[in-house]
């Protein structure tokens, strides 16, 4: 290394604390936990939530006192930090509760036949070892497939218009996509009901169309982000070699962004997999296993859950949670796949 090399140090992010000792972080937590336990026993703040509430109060005070040992600035800093950390932790509690509830309440429904039988001979109130949701699962998968076939090409075209064509209307298209992502799902359902269902009855295809409306903006926006990441040099190189814009887009740009586009599509699918409102108005619900997408209602996981919730008895409610559990797992799989595929590109 010659002496001319100037080492430019990386810019430091000053909020990353490299000197915080473990003791300094743990001590307030322990003290607050003990104090909260005392409060929990002697005051009206009983139960788990009461304990948490008293812990929150104690922790903020204890943290501030710890800071005040140094000076006022440090005291305010500790107080604010405690509030921020606890704000995040508190926001997380309901989600943990949702996940646990879905698993705990939905688990009893799962048995071997749950995925192979439908509800044609089983009432919502029958014992849990009977019937299943094969009809709902297949309906959801079919509708998602058809919706993807419609929305993925259109979404990618929309993104390609903004990043490749770069036409005058790029700003307008982006605004339209943003507005479309805000369309309430029930309105999309109402629209398909008025155009398709009122003429051709409830059908899986109507459900798929409603879902494709809701899916398009997610795919278009994510795809736009992905296509923007393709280096400009690749485009220039392709044009310099005499390739047409069509060849550049289809044979260079889109393949380069392939895994990102897969991620965009998966996120779009995951986003609409659990939509219930539009399906009430479009595909409705059928308890019978069927692959027919035209002319008759078809089952779906959200509608299975909604329908069983409507029945309201204990067994039916458990079935509703079972549907919710399967739906969650489906979305989790879609999401994880999207992340894995997307993550591979960056390396």
């Amino acid at each position: 290394m010659s002496s001319n090399d100037v080492v430019i140090p990386e810019r430091q992010k000053p909020w990353i604390n490299r000197t915080a000792s473990v003791r300094e972080m743990v001590a307030p937590v322990v003290i607050a936990a003990v104090l909260a336990g005392v409060l929990n026993l002697v005051t009206g703040l009983a139960g788990l939530l009461g304990y948490y509430l008293s812990f929150v109060i104690c922790y903020v005070i204890v943290a501030a006192v710890f800071g005040l040992r140094h000076d006022k600035v440090k005291g305010v800093d500790k107080l604010a930090s405690a509030a921020i950390v606890l704000g995040f932790a508190t926001a997380f509690i309901p989600w943990v509760s949702i996940l646990l509830t879905v698993i705990r309440r939905g688990w009893p429904t799962i048995y071997g036949g749950y995925f192979t039988t439908d509800m044609r001979v089983t009432a919502a109130d029958d014992d849990l070892g009977m019937g299943g949701l094969s009809h709902a699962l297949v309906g959801t998968v079919l509708m998602l497939l058809v919706a993807s076939v419609i929305s993925i090409p259109l979404g990618v075209l929309t993104a390609a218009y903004i990043t490749e064509i770069r036409g005058r209307l790029a700003g307008f298209v982006r605004i339209m996509i943003q507005s479309m992502s805000g369309v309430p799902s029930i309105v999309a359902g109402l629209f398909i009901f008025a155009t398709v269902v009122s003429r051709y009855k409830f059908s899986g295809i109507a459900g798929a169309l409603a879902l494709s409306i809701l899916m398009l903006p997610t795919i278009a926006r994510t795809a736009e982000e992905v296509l923007k990441l393709v280096p400009e040099e690749i485009r220039s190189a392709s044009y310099a070699l005499g390739a047409s814009q069509m060849a550049t887009t289809f044979r260079i740009i889109l393949p380069a962004a392939r895994s990102g586009l897969v991620t965009a599509s998966m996120l779009g699918v995951a986003r609409v997999a659990g939509e219930t409102a539009p399906l009430i108005l479009t595909s409705f619900y059928s308890a019978i296993f069927s692959l027919k997408m035209f002319g008759e209602p078809i089952g779906s996981l959200p509608m299975y859950t909604y329908q069983n919730f409507g029945v309201g008895t204990d067994t039916a409610l458990t079935r509703a949670w079972g549907g919710a559990l399967v739906l969650m797992v489906l979305i989790l799989i879609l999401f994880t796949t999207a992340r894995l595929v997307g993550g591979r590109t960056k390396k």
């Binding site: 926001a91 064509i165 805000g182």
Partner: protein
């Protein structure tokens, strides 16, 4: 420098013709992509036009009363004997969305700050992925959870709020039923809009100028000092935009509200009472047994909801875009 003149002049090659006209294939390609990109515009205008035409009879019959009155009666399927008005539902939608915003606000700010300035990069990536997943939890699951887990707890909280703060008009109730109130629905919606509002806010916070943060530290400021003096003023418009985007979501939410709110056709401001309104839930709940005339009224209600969310979302994305452009 005169050498060049002595050489014999060589033939100057003719200028190549530069073609800047696109080939036929490319022109077709560009037209095709442009047409595809217009889908969003076409769908949006079709939704607006169709709902307007389907609901036209209602708008003509009731005019502004459709928005200012709140009776919803369909006697025999004729316009003469019917009365449709969405005032209570529209106001209910807004009340529930505002409750959701007020409840979510402190958590949006603290979570965004926490993720950006308090956790190390690796844990942050995991948490962001988890939050993305939370944003994808279907509304029916939020609804189920809200009805069966949250409602028993929240109606207890509502009872104690009413007991101690009942002298404030909005916390007053006519009779002691705290279930299925706008308060409960608002809590569920607060949870649902948190991920989207937070990710927008975090995005803007992450672009807070590093120089100024370093300067704040250099002047002896603490972490909170830097956040208060630099990050929060910088991210204010992003925060507003994110909250508005969340509000747009909350206004259009159907199933989670349907499961946790008791729809009543009466304009009320008592947020703890078991009576509220929501346009989206009205459509889903009345749809099944609606006569052709009532269906038209629901289409008209759908148009009102569509326009309302369009305005809120448009405002939100304008603010967010401006906040993000300012940084670049």
């Amino acid at each position: 420098m005169t050498i060049a003149l002595e050489t014999t002049p060589t033939a100057v090659p003719e200028k190549r013709k530069i073609v800047d006209r696109r080939s036929i294939g490319d022109r077709i390609f560009r037209k095709g992509v442009t047409a595809g990109a217009m889908t969003a515009f076409v769908v949006l205008s079709m939704i607006a036009a169709l709902l307007f035409f389907r609901g036209f009879q209602i708008f003509r019959a009731f005019g502004l009363e459709f928005i200012t009155t709140s009776r919803w009666e369909d006697v025999d399927g004729t316009v003469q004997n019917a009365q449709f008005g969405v005032a209570a539902m529209l106001l209910g939608s807004i009340i529930v969305a505002v409750i959701a915003m007020v409840v979510a606000f402190p958590f949006v700010v603290s979570s965004a700050l926490f993720l950006e300035f308090y956790v190390p990069g690796k844990i942050k990536a995991v948490l962001v992925a988890v939050l993305d997943l939370m944003a994808a939890i279907p509304s029916i699951i939020y609804g189920l959870w809200g009805y069966l887990v949250l409602m028993p707890l929240a109606s207890g909280w509502a009872a104690s709020i009413n007991k101690y703060l009942g002298w404030i008009p909005i916390f007053n109730v006519d009779f002691d039923n705290f279930e299925a109130s706008p308060f409960v629905s608002g809590l569920v919606l607060a949870l649902m809009i948190l991920p989207i509002a937070m990710s927008v806010t975090r995005e803007v916070y992450s672009r807070a100028p590093l120089d100024q943060i370093q300067a704040a530290y250099a002047l002896g400021g603490s972490r909170w000092g830097a956040i208060r003096a630099v990050v929060i003023p910088f991210g204010r418009s992003g925060l507003v935009g994110g909250m508005l985007l969340g509000m747009g979501r909350a206004l259009g939410e159907t199933v989670a509200v349907l499961l946790t709110l008791n729809l009543v056709f009466e304009v009320k401001f008592q947020i703890l009472a078991s009576a509220g309104g929501s346009v989206a839930s009205l459509i889903a709940s009345r749809f099944g047994e609606a006569s052709p005339l009532e269906l038209k009224a629901l289409m008209a209600a759908g148009l009102v909801l569509f326009l309302l969310t369009l305005v809120v979302n448009f405002g939100a994305s304008t603010i967010v875009n401006r906040a993000e452009r300012r940084v670049k």
